[in-house]
């Protein structure tokens, strides 16, 4: 029953058709001044992500939801994210900004790579108007035991404000300071919040804890709370 609800909702959301020359995405219109762009991880878009977008729209925050694996028919692998055309992503960001709303782009896991590369290709003025939230971003080129991590070259991010949301229960959490340093090295103003009691992708876990289930249902509230606390405008 939940599946059919999800399906019907997807059809409804698609009726707000994205422009044909833009990356294929779901739109959840709202009349407020904020626009949140959600870029799903390399695992594709999960139902709680769609529900969060719907709940945000109901609270006046317009949401666009992009699943790169679906848009480009890519295998659900981290390496797939590295193949996403930067220009398409940049055009998508520009289209979002063209509406005049305050745009915050959110990327999950390896989807941070195409998002940041697209942001780097924007004009400085466009970049400065953008806020970027990254959920447990994977920016490694290589990360092997006993060797220092090798991060991807992110090019120029000068003027960009980035906030990382890092679940506490993640092998990447001890590496958060190094990740922020790397973002700062490329010119971004980087900060972070640790999400207590949660694991990466907590909304799509095979065996979620009760807390993770509850948090999956209030992802909209978590995002709004973090956006307000961060104060990126």
């Amino acid at each position: 029953m939940r599946f059919f609800g999800f399906l019907l909702f997807g059809v409804w959301a698609c009726s707000f058709a994205a422009r044909a020359d833009l990356l294929d995405h779901l739109r959840f219109p709202a009349t407020g001044t904020q626009l949140l762009l959600w870029v799903a991880s390399e695992r594709g878009r999960a139902e709680p992500e769609v529900q969060a977008a719907q709940q945000l729209a109901a609270q006046g925050v317009e949401a666009w939801s992009l699943d790169l694996t679906s848009a480009y028919f890519l295998p659900q692998l981290p390496s797939s994210m590295d193949d996403v055309p930067v220009r398409d992503m940049a055009d998508w960001l520009r289209a979002a900004q063209a509406g005049g709303k305050q745009v915050t782009a959110v990327a999950v896991a390896r989807a941070a790579v195409p998002l940041l590369r697209a942001v780097a290709s924007l004009e400085p003025a466009e970049r400065q108007r953008l806020c970027v939230l990254l959920l447990y971003p994977n920016l490694y080129m290589t990360a092997e035991p006993l060797a220092a991590p090798d991060y991807l070259d992110l090019e120029i991010l000068t003027g960009l404000r980035v906030h990382v949301l890092q679940p506490r229960r993640s092998a990447a959490t001890p590496w958060l300071p190094g990740l922020l340093d790397h973002l700062a090295l490329h010119g971004a103003t980087a900060s972070a919040t640790v999400l207590e009691g949660l694991r990466e992708g907590y909304w799509e876990r095979e065996s979620p804890t009760e807390f993770e289930i509850a948090e999956s249902r209030r992802m909209d509230a978590m995002l709004l709370r973090e956006l307000n606390a961060w104060g990126c405008k």
């Binding site: 490694y140 990360a143 092997e144 035991p145 006993l146 060797a147 220092a148 991590p149 229960r169 092998a171 990447a172 959490t173 001890p174 590496w175 694991r199 095979e206 065996s207």
Partner: protein
């Protein structure tokens, strides 16, 4: 002849598969510093285990693959009783309370060390859990495994036995 070729091909395929999922041999690398405390608060370093083969496992109580392999580590401990192997499980970046909550449900006979601030995790450059290091009796890293395994059988047991045979006086 055909049967022999088929057997050879199958063996190669199996060997390749085992290697892909298996242990990464290291050229006897010096181990990073281990500076942790056990559940009683006593400080522990690698020097405490010198002269024995050491299985150093980085894990966390929230990590399902880590918990899946724990029973096999306990079986390995029992199987290796009296032999110069020490199993040490270092919990990565959790509070003592979180670790103790797990241990109240899972009885383990090998030492558990704590790394609440993640400093050992960073020093050993651990990026995924579980990650396990096999050290020889001189405290040098000989094998690394990222991901879980069944420690009391197959490739894991063979690798451990190979390190133990380097200690002929104690291996039996």
């Amino acid at each position: 002849m055909k049967r022999l070729l088929t057997t050879c091909a199958m063996s190669l395929l199996l060997a390749a598969g085992a290697q892909a999922a298996g242990f990464e041999a290291r050229a006897s690398e010096p181990a990073p510093e281990l500076k942790a405390r056990d559940l009683n608060g006593a400080p522990r370093t690698l020097a405490d285990y010198r002269g024995k083969v050491v299985l150093l496992n980085f894990w966390a109580s929230w990590c399902p693959p880590c918990l899946r392999e724990m029973p096999s580590m306990e079986r390995l401990r029992v199987k290796m009783t009296g032999r110069p192997l020490t199993i040490v499980a270092l919990d990565s970046a959790e509070t003592p309370e979180e670790v103790k909550a797990y241990l109240s449900r899972m009885k383990l006979g090998f030492p558990i060390l704590l790394d609440p601030d993640g400093s050992n995790t960073r020093r050993w450059k651990v990026f995924a859990l579980p990650t396990t290091f096999l050290l020889d009796a001189d405290g040098r890293v000989r094998y690394v495994l990222t991901g879980p395994t069944e420690w009391d059988e197959g490739e894991a047991l063979r690798v451990i036995e190979s390190l133990l045979t380097e200690l002929p006086a104690h291996a039996g």
